[in-house]
Every structure is written in structure tokens, then in C-alpha cells.
């Protein structure tokens, strides 16, 4: 069996966070990881608290984050194990903590499934917090700090599919291992149950990550200019599938002084169905400016919204956003089957092997009557790389064999869009060198 390279492994770690963002409806937020082998002056010690204190005060680390890598956050992946801890994190608790709250430590043993400790520690640095005191039976209330600490939202536990489910920031012990790769969000369901709640004590970590993503990404100016499109990832999300006018915004993160891509910027907005833009027909120009208002549904099932940005110094850069329209009223008659008990309860989604050198299988279990689903594969920039069209999804276990061998190495998402259920599964393509 081919062993995974460090680069590949770090990509999988990175994707675990980005996949959680996607699952939780946190649009236009992505983390990018760079890794470096680091032998600090201090020992890794048996105390994870001491390691974090050392890491936080380490001037070499500051230098690496601020200058060498221009990184906003620093994660120390320790090869040691620690009693009573898989990780430790400072937490972003203030409106503007500056860069004093940008450090976390994760033990090598538990970064990915089933604890998702890396995504957990990293997003504490974005302000996400544990489940509320009364979201029993885990979080012990500790007045008077309980309300002091919680300036926004929290993790969540709930019952779904006959099991108690825990979002990434719900506390678990060493026996209750399994978390779902979701941040709490009252608007996103898991097996038919909402993954968060509104109210005086909201469980809505997705919201806080949406809010803090941009300020945290401004901790250190990147050498690269970056553009993002913000706005809803699907149109007509309401009960009847009615369309309402929707605004999308161009977010441009300026590069550090002296790097190309300086403001002011001119932005043009485009859309098409392929995700590959040449700025001529069939690509359609929607308008110019820092925002665009969609006044109708451009295409059924999905389309790609795209911005092309020109900086003052003549650099062109782009951003794309894949938008689902399959729920829109005007797209309903295109569906083959249209009943209320279509494909529901997609569960036990497995992708194997992952990473893959080309062929891989997506396996999942569904309940309810057969349904057809659109299946396509996108790259991380939102472009559709493979469109497999409609496939019949039957009740029970479904296995679909897919092949990425013609695509370059990297990360891809497999999308299943059914009438009532959709899901996205990440897959890493890592072809061995010829």
C-alpha cells in the first residue's frame, strides 16, 4: 500500500476543516495550511499547557508566522500524547484580540476522525466555543465566567438517527469518541435534525466563524491578493422553492504593501454552467462593481458565479462560487420524480480509498423511495471537473465507482444533489509519479 506523504496528509487535515465549513454553510471561508518541521528550544514536555505557553512566547514562531509564511494562525502538531488532553487552544474572545490569540497545540494522535481535534482547536482560534452549560450532559456551568466567555455561539449536541450527535465543539470524553464534521448551525440539518439552535443561548458556531473569518485572515497580510464571493450557496432555499432577489459581494483581501495586486480594484461579474471562464459567449456578463443582485435564476440545478478583478497595477485575479438552484420552483419540472418521500436520510457516507490514485468508491446508505440525483465533481476553486449527470439512487446501500485519473493531483469534492437531500464528500487525488 502506498504511504501518504506529509504534503498529502496536511492536505487531508486542511480539507477536514474546509469540509466542515462546507457542511456547516460557512461560504467563502477556506483555510490553507503550510507545514514545517520545527525543533524548538524547549522540550515537548508532558504538559500540553506548558508547551502552548512556550509556543505562544516563542519569537522564532512569531518570525515564521509573520514573515516567513505570512500565516494568520499557528498550530503546533506535537508527536507526544498528553494525559487529559488531545489539544489546547487560546480562544478568540474579543472583538479584536490582535495576534495574541493565534496559537494552538494538537496531539498527533487525534487530529482527524472521529474527534476532529484539529478542526476543533483551529476554530477555537476563530471564536467557536464548546456547547452551552445547559446543553447537558457535558458542559458544567461555571459562573461567573460562563456568560463572560460566551460572547456569541456554541457547539451543540442533539439526537438524530437514534444516536446522540455531537458537533465539532461539543465536548466529548475519551469514550464518547464520535463527532460529526459540522459546526453548530440551526439552519443546517443532519439526518433531519437541526445541528444548532437559536435563542438566548444560541448554538450557532457557524455564524461566529462566518464573522471572524475575515478579521482573522487580516492578522497577517498575505503576499497574495485574494478574492472571494460572499453570499448564499443555494438559491430558493425556502419552503416553496420561491426565488427572491439575492445579493452577492466581492470580498478582496489586499496583499501586503509592496506586493502586486494593490487597490483600487475593478470587478466584473460573470456566470456560466461549466465553471471555466473565457469571458466570451456562452459566459454571460452580469455587471460590474463590488456587488451584484441576482434578479432571476440563471440556470437550473447549478451554475457558477464568477468575478474577474483587475488591480490598480494591472493584475487580474478571479474567484468562483458554485451555486445550487435545484430547489427553485422554476427547476422543479425538470425532475423525473416529484414526491414528498424521495431519497431521504442519506447516511454512513464513505469514500475509499481516500486519498486515491484515480478510482475510488463512494458508498452511502439511504432510506425512502428511489430518487435520481445529480452527481458531479468539483475542484476546490468551485469549478466543475466531471459531470456524471443523473444517477438513480436506490433504497439501502449505494456504491458508485468514480475515476479521477485524468485530473491533476489535488482535492476534489463529490457532490450528490437529490430532490430532498444533498451531500458533498471530499476526496484527495494523489497519483503516483510515472
Amino acid at each position: 500500500m502506498k504511504s501518504l506523504t506529509m504534503d498529502g496528509f496536511v492536505k487531508v487535515l486542511e480539507n477536514s476543516v474546509n469540509f466542515a465549513f462546507e457542511n456547516s454553510d460557512i461560504p467563502n471561508k477556506r483555510v490553507r495550511f503550510r507545514w514545517v518541521v520545527y525543533n524548538p528550544e524547549y522540550a515537548l514536555t508532558s504538559s500540553i499547557e506548558t508547551l502552548l505557553a512556550n509556543f505562544r512566547s516563542d519569537q522564532n514562531v512569531d518570525e515564521m508566522l509573520n514573515t516567513d509564511y505570512r500565516a494568520d494562525l499557528g498550530l503546533f502538531i506535537s508527536g507526544r500524547t498528553y494525559s487529559n488532553a488531545y489539544g489546547i487552544s487560546d480562544i478568540r474572545q474579543f472583538e479584536d484580540p490582535g495576534t495574541s490569540h493565534r496559537h494552538a497545540v494538537v496531539s498527533f494522535r487525534a487530529m482527524l476522525a472521529p474527534r476532529w481535534t484539529l478542526a476543533h482547536e483551529l476554530t477555537h482560534l476563530l471564536g467557536a466555543d464548546h456547547n452551552w452549560c445547559d446543553n447537558v450532559p457535558c458542559n458544567t456551568c461555571f459562573p461567573p465566567t460562563c456568560n463572560e466567555r460566551n460572547y456569541c455561539n456554541h457547539g451543540y449536541r442533539f439526537d438524530a438517527g437514534e444516536l446522540e450527535r455531537k458537533t465539532i465543539h461539543a465536548i466529548i470524553n475519551s469514550n464518547g469518541l464520535v463527532r460529526i464534521l459540522h459546526f453548530s448551525n440551526p439552519n443546517v440539518d443532519f439526518l433531519g435534525e437541526p445541528t444548532g439552535v437559536y435563542g438566548d443561548e444560541p448554538a450557532y458556531n457557524a455564524q461566529i466563524i462566518r464573522n471572524t473569518g475575515c478579521p482573522v485572515s487580516a492578522y497577517v497580510a498575505s503576499p497574495e491578493v485574494k478574492a472571494m464571493i460572499s453570499g448564499p450557496p443555494k438559491l430558493c432555499g425556502g419552503i416553496n422553492g420561491a426565488f427572491s432577489e439575492t445579493i452577492y459581494y466581492a470580498n478582496i483581501l489586499q496583499p501586503a504593501q509592496g506586493f502586486p495586486g494593490q487597490p483600487p480594484y475593478t470587478v466584473s461579474w460573470w456566470w456560466n454552467e461549466t465553471g471555466v471562464f473565457t469571458y466570451q459567449a456562452p459566459d454571460e456578463l452580469l455587471g460590474t462593481g463590488n456587488q451584484i443582485t441576482l434578479t432571476d435564476v440563471p440556470a437550473c440545478n447549478y451554475f457558477t458565479l464568477h468575478i474577474r478583478v483587475r488591480s490598480d497595477d494591472g493584475l487580474y485575479f478571479t474567484a468562483s462560487k458554485l451555486i445550487f438552484t435545484g430547489l427553485c420552483e422554476e427547476c422543479q419540472e425538470e425532475r423525473v420524480v416529484k414526491t414528498d418521500d424521495l431519497l431521504s436520510g442519506v447516511r454512513a457516507i464513505k469514500v475509499f480509498p481516500n486519498p486515491t490514485s484515480g478510482e475510488f468508491t463512494v458508498e452511502f446508505h439511504t432510506e425512502g423511495e428511489p430518487d435520481d440525483a445529480l452527481i458531479f465533481i468539483s475542484s476546490m476553486d468551485g469549478k466543475i471537473r466531471y459531470d456524471l449527470g443523473r444517477r438513480l439512487i436506490s433504497k439501502g446501500v449505494n456504491r458508485i465507482l468514480l475515476d479521477l485519473k485524468d485530473l491533476p493531483n489535488g482535492l476534489y469534492n463529490v457532490h450528490f444533489v437529490g430532490a430532498r437531500q444533498n451531500f458533498t464528500a471530499p476526496v484527495t487525488l494523489q497519483k503516483s509519479k510515472p
Binding site: S46, S47, E49, T50, A53, S83, H130, T145, E148, N173
Partner: protein, 187 residues
């Protein structure tokens, strides 16, 4: 102009008269004692926690670390509330002075140091480090049992809250007196 100056003085005096709010420490459960225990007087009250040691390090066999952990009570999940401990303790019977520097530095990395952290599971709420003005901060190693893999001793240490933490209102100073511990090696 005069009026403005007067107003400013009044506002200041009101702030000065306000009694500073101090939060109590968390209610804690001392946790499982299968790797050891610690007992001390913290700011005049009894404080207990579980203990574990880490010695037999291949890279540094002459030093060990001793960790104390207390948990939130009534929690089936053992959520960590406090973590306290000493690092770079010589594995030899004796009396040792704790490094007195508030500033974390390479000198601190190599010296006998101590750190007390208030936590919620993996989240740091605030940190305390040894008070650099208290010369008597000390840890005593009284016995080492290489067969059982245990170390026991005493400590007396005064710590100051992280000066950068202006938000939490836990006591600025913590004094641990008459601390006694026994800790078994945690692998």
C-alpha cells in the same frame, strides 16, 4: 475649559471608589487518584487534584515533570478545569528553587518552572506564573521509588495572573501553601 476638567476628576473618583470585583475559583472535583494525588492550601482554602508524573524521559533522564489536574464537578465527561504543575524537576531528593521570571524565555525553558492554568477542557481561560518577587517559591523532592515509579514531595509557591489578561477577574495572586503530592509515571 474648567468645567471639562472638573467633570473628568469626578468621573475618575467614582471609578476609584468602586470595589474591584473578584471572581471565585471554579468548584472542582479532584478527579481519579490512580496516578497520584495532590493536596494544598490555595489562598487559605483546601485544594485537591489528581496528579501524575512524567519521568524516565530518554532525552532527559535526570529531570521529570509533575502535573496536577482538577475537573468540573458532576460531570460524567471529566472536563478539565485546572491544570497545574512543575517541569524540569531534578529526579533526586532535594530542595529546589522555582525559576523567578514572569517572562517566558530560553532561560525559563531550561529551568525548574511552574504554570497554573484555568481551563474549560482544552480552552485556556487564564494562566498564572510564579511571582518573580517571591524568593521562597520552592519545590521539595522527598522520595523517589524507582520500582513503583513514583515521586513524592512538597511545594510552596506564589503565582501571578497573566498581566495581559485584563478581562477575567480571578484573583491576581494565588498562593499555594503546604502542598504535598505523590505522582506515578504516566507513560
Amino acid at each position: 475649559m474648567k468645567k471639562i476638567a472638573l467633570l473628568a476628576v469626578v468621573a475618575l473618583s467614582i471609578i476609584c471608589c468602586e470595589k474591584e470585583e473578584v471572581w471565585p475559583f471554579f468548584q472542582t472535583w479532584k478527579g481519579p487518584q490512580n496516578y497520584g494525588q495532590v493536596h494544598a492550601i490555595r489562598n487559605g482554602e483546601i485544594w485537591e487534584a489528581s496528579a501524575s508524573g512524567h519521568f524516565f524521559s530518554t532525552s532527559d533522564p535526570h529531570h521529570c515533570a509533575i502535573s496536577f489536574t482538577a475537573f468540573y464537578p458532576d460531570s460524567i465527561l471529566s472536563v478539565v478545569a485546572e491544570s497545574f504543575g512543575f517541569s524540569n524537576v531534578p529526579v533526586a531528593v532535594g530542595s529546589y528553587k522555582i525559576h523567578l521570571s514572569e517572562v517566558l524565555s530560553p532561560a525559563w525553558y531550561d529551568s525548574l518552572r511552574c504554570l497554573y492554568v484555568l481551563k474549560h477542557d482544552d480552552v485556556v481561560i487564564t494562566e498564572y506564573r510564579p511571582d518573580p518577587n517571591v524568593e521562597s517559591n520552592r519545590v521539595w523532592v522527598d522520595a523517589i521509588d524507582t520500582v513503583a515509579g513514583t515521586i513524592s514531595g512538597r511545594f510552596d509557591v506564589t503565582l501571578l495572573k497573566d498581566p495581559d489578561d485584563t478581562r477575567t477577574k480571578f484573583p491576581r495572586t494565588i498562593r499555594f501553601q503546604n502542598g504535598t503530592f505523590t505522582a506515578r509515571h504516566w507513560p
